[in-house]
């Protein structure tokens, strides 16, 4: 083995030790301004990679304007736009603030954030709390008065209730929830029903303990019971927290972030620090929830949620969640084949995430850009489909564009050879 190859092998081994050794725990819930590094009252975050205002997709533009109105920064949409153009509202990717946001990823100062601590390395990552179910959410780039009211209720009522319960719980072990949920049919991206159920189970006693006599408790419980995919955002923050310690690890070819802004798909690679390698985002193939919707209405791939694939969940473990095949007219055999394919581009397998229908094989984890380029196999991502004007309209799957990996590998060669 050449010296470089040997160094890469060692670095990737170390990267996987950091990622798989991480212990993500939900430790707090707090407004973004209080906890997210670099957050300011006039900053609005979106799903990565970074993109100029005039190139942004509809859901991002709508969502950012919506957040500006909800925060009371701007008087109306035109005013918000002026402020953005003048730089009075700062727009930035969630990823640049140790955060991840599903869909449009809209996060502003008052947004209640899930605070996840990786207790192995001591770092923290953040994601907004889920707005619950429904097609019209700020997360999908829609904003109106009702959505604003709901966001305010989340900030004023649900956020503090969750904060108190999470603190009373002493922290909730997200790694354990993921392990169990995968045994229960979640791939932890497009399906998080079991994870959410396990999270709720862990939270009920602390809810009673911390808020037993408050009128807010019942409305919070009612919301949490109905929001059956609530915990995706907790898993996303956990994934970010697990990957952060590997970022900047010299010589490692392991992917530490994948994210999409509806226009471009971007990746970061451990050995290349915080540089993004981008290429045009692909269209998502899948099921549209209403017959009136089709590909012509959809924005390309959008959201930071593929941070789950970056730690070997979602599209990497489709075989654990055959229900998700219903979106793509797939079947069990196809799901298993997809998981086997992802094994070919990963460094190792994760024994904390075992796939029952594959006789408990560990999930493929640690995407190696060299393997992606050598095999021509691009990471497979389970994801939602968003309307060009905002709104959730479907779900399905998509591939990461090969060009990001080719560029990254070139940059890697330039730096290390």
């Amino acid at each position: 083995m050449s010296v470089l190859k040997e160094k890469i092998a060692q670095a990737n081994f170390q990267a996987l030790e950091l990622i798989l050794g991480a212990q993500p725990r939900l430790v707090d819930v707090a407004p973004a301004l209080e906890v997210v590094p670099g957050m300011t009252p006039n900053t609005i975050l979106h799903s990565a990679p970074a993109i100029e205002w005039d190139r942004m997709c509809g859901p991002h533009r709508n969502g950012i304007i919506g957040a500006a109105l909800w925060e009371g920064i701007a008087d109306d949409a035109a005013h918000a736009e002026q402020m953005i153009e003048r730089g009075e509202i700062i727009i930035a990717p969630c990823h640049h603030h140790d955060s991840v946001g599903a869909g449009a990823g809209i996060t502003s100062a008052s947004t209640p954030m899930l605070v996840v601590e990786n207790t192995s390395a001591g770092n923290r990552a953040f994601s907004c709390i889920s707005e619950g179910g429904g097609l019209r959410l700020l997360k999908w780039g829609v904003y109106d008065e009702d959505i604003g009211k709901h966001l305010s209720w989340q900030a004023q009522v649900l956020g503090p209730v969750l904060r108190d319960a999470v603190r009373a719980s002493g922290g909730i072990d997200i790694k354990g929830i993921i392990s169990k949920a995968v045994q229960m049919g979640d791939e932890c991206h497009n399906r998080t029903i079991a994870s959410t159920s396990l999270f709720l189970r862990a939270l009920l006693e602390p809810l009673l303990e911390s808020r037993g006599d408050s009128p807010e408790l019942l409305e919070s419980v009612r919301f949490l019971v109905a929001a059956d995919q609530f915990f995706l955002h907790g898993i996303m923050a956990a994934a970010k927290a697990m990957l952060m310690p590997a970022a900047g690890l010299e010589y490692s070819t392991v992917v530490t972030a994948m994210a999409r802004n509806g226009v471009e798909f971007g990746i970061q690679v451990a050995g290349l620090g915080d540089q993004w390698f981008t290429a045009p985002a692909n269209n998502v193939e899948g099921l549209f929830f209403r017959s009136e919707w089709g590909h012509e209405h959809a924005v390309p791939d959008l959201g930071d949620s593929c941070i789950t694939e970056t730690i070997g969940l979602g599209g990497f473990i489709q075989a654990a969640a055959p229900t998700v095949q219903q979106y793509v007219q797939g079947n069990m055999q196809q799901a298993i084949a997809n998981t086997l394919e992802m094994q070919q581009i990963c460094v190792t397998s994760n024994n904390d995430v075992q796939i029952p229908a594959m006789d408990f094989a560990g999930a493929p984890v640690g995407i190696d850009i060299r393997k992606v380029v050598q095999t021509g196999i691009a990471p497979l991502i389970d994801t939602a489909i968003t309307h060009k004007q905002g709104g959730l309209i479907g779900a399905g799957q998509v591939r990461a564009p090969m060009a990001c990996f080719e560029q990254a590998l070139k940059a890697f060669a330039g730096r290390y050879q």
Binding site: K180, Q183, M184, G185, I193, A194, S197, L198, L200, R201, A202, L204, E205, L208, E209, G212, L217, L218, V221, R222, L224, V225, A321, P322, T323, N331, M332, P356, A357, M358, D359, F360
Partner: protein, 423 residues
């Protein structure tokens, strides 16, 4: 009277009757509507009646766990002060011992159910009949001395009757009932086969009850204990599913000419079945051993009671062993594999009349679970129903889990009786 209708040949009458039986399984709408003490709800229940799992069995022939449970129930109900006088009372005929199944009820493991036992009440809205199950009596933990067992059981039974039972009662009533069928369908999508694995179902029930519990339970300590129990008890949904299965299977009874199994139950000595076309007659054979995994190395086959409990009602409605394909986790108990689990589900397809279309198995491209065991097919193929089950210690307590087969001899006896009645 006019001319007699031309006689329909028996095979055709059986085919029609079995299709009718299948339709009744498929149409069942079990709804959890209440929790009430056995005395208030079980038809024919009395203060000195004690019910047990499985087919009928005399006191002196009962296995260890059932004998212990019966003595405990006599003392718990205040019918005798100690074990000695409880035994005397039994010998004098002062206690009515009967199967749960004959009181529209089912009981997991030993199945001991007495007048004060809080019962899950499930209404089958399709036919208007009820099914009942105890809220697991326990203690199910490790092996204990007899005195320890009786002490723990007394505490646990009082807690069930005074804390958990009333909390669930108010919550379920507050909800106006909980549909069990969609809950089972969803649990199947989440890796439960709904007999040995109930992690998803128990989580779903807790979620379904959460708002009702917070809204209806005014005693904070009672609520805390209830939430703690439901958060911990990963097998809780089984007792609800069993009552739902009983309400479903009872509706299939007494269809003339049907060769479909309506009951499978075990008392640790005998395995018994009932057949729709043969009404309430039991057909029994010695219960098989359970092959599986012991939870501690101190236990072995020598400690285990043969197959026990009414929980095989889950297999009667197409779950448990029939649905193994969805729960590969259980293969760990028997050193199996996913292929083996799928194979068993397919095998059950050979001895059943049809499928439950809404009980789908995602791992098997969403086929419905095979339901309605036909005794003729069991005999023709030599394939006995496979049953997922827990393993009980001879002296009480659950010590393992695995699977077993129904003994073929019950089916042979039932088929003979069927020919006598219908040929």
């Amino acid at each position: 009277m006019g001319a007699q209708r031309p006689e329909i040949p028996l095979p055709e009458r059986i085919r029609q009757a079995n299709q009718e039986a299948l339709a009744v399984f498929q149409a069942a709408q079990p709804v959890w509507v209440d929790v009430r003490p056995a005395l208030e709800v079980l038809p024919g229940m009395s203060r000195n009646t004690i019910l047990h799992a499985g087919p009928p069995i005399a006191w002196e022939h009962m296995c260890g766990p059932q004998q212990m449970g019966v003595l405990q129930a006599i003392m718990y109900e205040g019918l005798a002060a100690d074990q000695q006088s409880a035994q005397t009372l039994l010998q004098q005929g002062g206690i009515v011992l009967a199967p749960c199944h004959e009181y529209q009820a089912v009981g997991g493991m030993a199945g001991i159910t007495s007048a004060s036992s809080p019962m899950v009440v499930v209404l089958n809205r399709d036919r208007g009949n009820y099914g009942y199950s105890q809220l697991f009596q326990g203690p199910a933990g490790g092996l204990q001395s007899r005195d320890h067992y009786h002490g723990e059981a007394l505490k646990q039974w009082h807690w069930l009757a005074n804390v958990l039972g009333p909390a669930l009662q108010t919550a379920v009533r507050w909800l106006g009932g909980l549909e069990i069928r969609p809950l089972i369908a969803r649990a199947l999508e989440m890796g439960d086969e709904c007999h040995n694995r109930n992690s998803a179902g128990s989580g779903l029930i807790l979620r379904a009850l959460a708002e009702a519990l917070f809204a209806s339970c005014s005693d904070r300590e009672q609520l805390r204990q209830t939430l703690a129990y439901l958060s911990w008890a990963e097998q809780f949904s089984l007792c609800v599913s069993m009552a739902a299965a009983k309400a479903t299977a009872d509706a299939v009874k007494e269809i003339p000419c049907s060769t479909v199994v309506t009951t499978m139950a075990r008392n640790g000595v005998d395995f018994g079945i009932k057949i729709s076309g043969l009404g309430e007659r039991w057909f029994t054979a010695p219960a098989n051993r359970v092959e599986g995994l012991y939870f501690s190395s101190e236990w072995s086959d020598a400690d285990a009671v043969p197959d026990m409990g009414d929980s095989a009602i889950m297999e009667v409605i197409g779950l448990g062993g029939h649905a193994q394909g969805t729960a590969p986790a259980l293969q760990q108990f028997v050193g199996g594999s996913f292929d083996r689990a799928v194979g068993l589900t397919r095998e059950m397809g050979q001895i059943t009349v049809g499928v439950m279309p809404d009980f789908r198995l995602p791992n098997m491209d969403f086929i419905g679970v095979p339901v309605a065991v036909d005794i003729r097919r069991v005999i023709q193929t030599g394939i006995a129903p496979v049953i997922d089950t827990a393993i009980a210690h001879r002296k009480g307590g659950v010590i393992g889990a695995g699977q077993t087969r129904a003994p073929l001899a019950c089916f042979v006896a039932a088929l003979r009786a069927f020919h006598q009645q219908y040929s």
